[in-house]
Symmetry: none
Subunit: 209 residues, 4 copies
């Protein structure tokens, strides 16, 4: 490995270091309530260094969204690439992916969500904004293609697959946000798994012929 490579790797490692720290803090305290200096401290770097890797606070937050969406996208695309031929099984796999994403980082989707809704978007560089939009669209389209496949096979009823994908995405994100917020108030009871299972049960009943 050449020196240039090592530099490159160290650089991207440091980027990840910052993003991980930022993710932890943004998740636990929210965007506005997290100070850049805290992120610096958490990542054991100085504030100035953060700005060598990210143009500003918004871009740092946006980069988290990109990373998360990329992760999600990759997993989703594996479903379509799989050998599985039964549409309902593919739907189950979708549930599995979404749930595992939730388990990996409970509010990953909430972040992606909040970010897109929020006005932080406006502060973003065109590049990053475009990337988020593209990833987001691709994720939706990938979900849609699972349904398309089912419709094509004749197992699912004829409906607009993109619209169904929107619904799946919405209900999933909605449940995660909603149950997480209930969780925050009463940490004892966590019904996310059950609610998600039920939601999928209903969706399958609703789309199957």
């Amino acid at each position: 490995m050449g020196i240039a490579d090592r530099r490159e790797r160290e650089k991207s490692e440091r980027r990840r270091l910052i993003m991980d720290a930022a993710n932890r803090l943004f998740n636990s305290k929210g965007f506005s309530a997290t100070a850049m200096e805290e992120i610096a401290k958490e990542s054991e770097l100085s504030p100035g260094t953060i700005y060598l890797y990210f143009k500003n606070k918004e871009e740092l937050y946006g980069s988290l969204s990109v990373r998360d969406l990329g992760l999600l996208l990759e997993r989703l695309e594996q479903i379509n690439k799989s050998e599985e031929r039964d549409p309902q099984k593919r739907l189950e796999a979708l549930k599995g992916v979404l749930y595992s994403i939730y388990e990996h980082d409970p509010i990953l989707l909430l972040n992606v969500f909040n970010f897109q809704t929020s006005n932080l978007f406006k502060e973003l560089s065109e590049d990053l904004a475009t990337e988020i939009r593209r990833f987001s669209r691709r994720a939706l389209r990938t979900i849609a293609s699972i349904f398309e496949y089912g419709i094509h096979q004749g197992t699912f009823t004829q409906r607009n697959p993109i619209a169904i994908a929107d619904i799946v995405w919405s209900v999933f994100s909605g449940i995660v946000i909603w149950e997480e917020s209930k969780n925050a108030l009463d940490p004892e009871k966590n019904y996310i798994r059950e609610t998600l299972d039920l939601a999928f049960e209903i969706i399958i009943l609703g789309v199957k012929k």
Copy 2:
């Protein structure tokens, strides 16, 4: 009308004036990005005056949630009080209520949502926090009772009504947030109505016997 009455009315009008201005600004710029002075300017009052009506910025925001939730709750309870005997029709009424709420203020639910998720809750006076929680719980229970009614009548399949209410609430909020965020990026195309219709169609298929 006595002087005291008039005073009282003026006072509550002023409160509403502030809340409306705050709502507009919070909606378009978000909580943190909105300065109290802007709210003052928007409501044609002075900063000091805002503080005569609301203890602080958080309480002002929280009061918006309470007002919104109250509005929603009232509409929901009318469904159960209605003469309608057909469970599916009641479900349609629920859709109508949620949609009309959306039309009245597209991000009303988003606000309620974001608020509960956010850390702003911690800054709230106990009174206000309790009220929000109570309203929120009652709204859920009211939705649940629509399903209970259908199960009781034998039209809907036997399932936990509270869980279904959570799903309905989640999917509805999720769609609104999601479509609104797509809206923000591309204001030409608004598919909310269609997506909601489809979502309800699926839910009805999913819960009917």
Copy 3:
């Protein structure tokens, strides 16, 4: 009693009412930390009314000083007017007066003191400032005349009576402030009486022939 008289009396009663309330609050929280609205509430009047009786916050505070100084002055002048012929006994009477003032309102002198030191003086109307200065000077001169009397009688050593009065005044105020501040830290132990007694003992030894 005519109507005009009653008006006058009510007016001065209200003045006193406000001053008493202000005194209590200034004493317990200090000048800056006391809000005019608190004084209004404590005196069961409205903020606006306070301003009918006092031009501003500083004048209200200054008026307290005037009242206190007047009270003190009256008591001091009685000593000189008394039948008592023994200079040392007159000195004892002086101690009694100062101590009873302290008992009446522990920080009366502290207030007079702080006020004169503070920059509040600058905000005062010329009238009030002049009055405070005149009272203050007269109080000093009255104390001085007690010593003059003793020197004249040949019981006290020949010294500048005004300077001695300054010292008496300083030591007395100093002790009150100092012991009060120790009091604030450890309310159990109150040595003011003992310290004052000792101070007078020393002074008497110091001035007697």
Copy 4:
């Protein structure tokens, strides 16, 4: 001198810079009337920088007291460590110290005083409050030991040394405050030196056998 050392020195110089500026302003305008921004301007720094060195306005004020008390304490302790065997000479030295402190900063003691009396104490960090209390107590005890020494030697009359120290402290502070306030009103005439001399004369007569 290493870089770290220089950093350290610059840092403490900066601290002193701020404290000096703050001292000037607090002295001339009082605590409440002095804005942090003025202190920033006076020390040619930005407001934010002040907060890098002091947690808040109260702590800045408190730090001044600590510095002043430290200075005083050091001087007082030198009296006891000195070769001087004559108690009355030691008393003279005490007068000298107190007077030189006064000359160094005429209202140093007034500040220490006012601070302890004021409610600012409550806002202080435990550390700083403790330090002020400790210094204050030690200063008193050091003064007391001068008298103890005189009593032990048989030159002074048997009296509670701590109480005498309180009196000395009180009369000295009292005179400074009092004469300064007269000074403020009529800057022509400054009798502090004379008054202090007379006060010491009286005290010495009062405590000597």
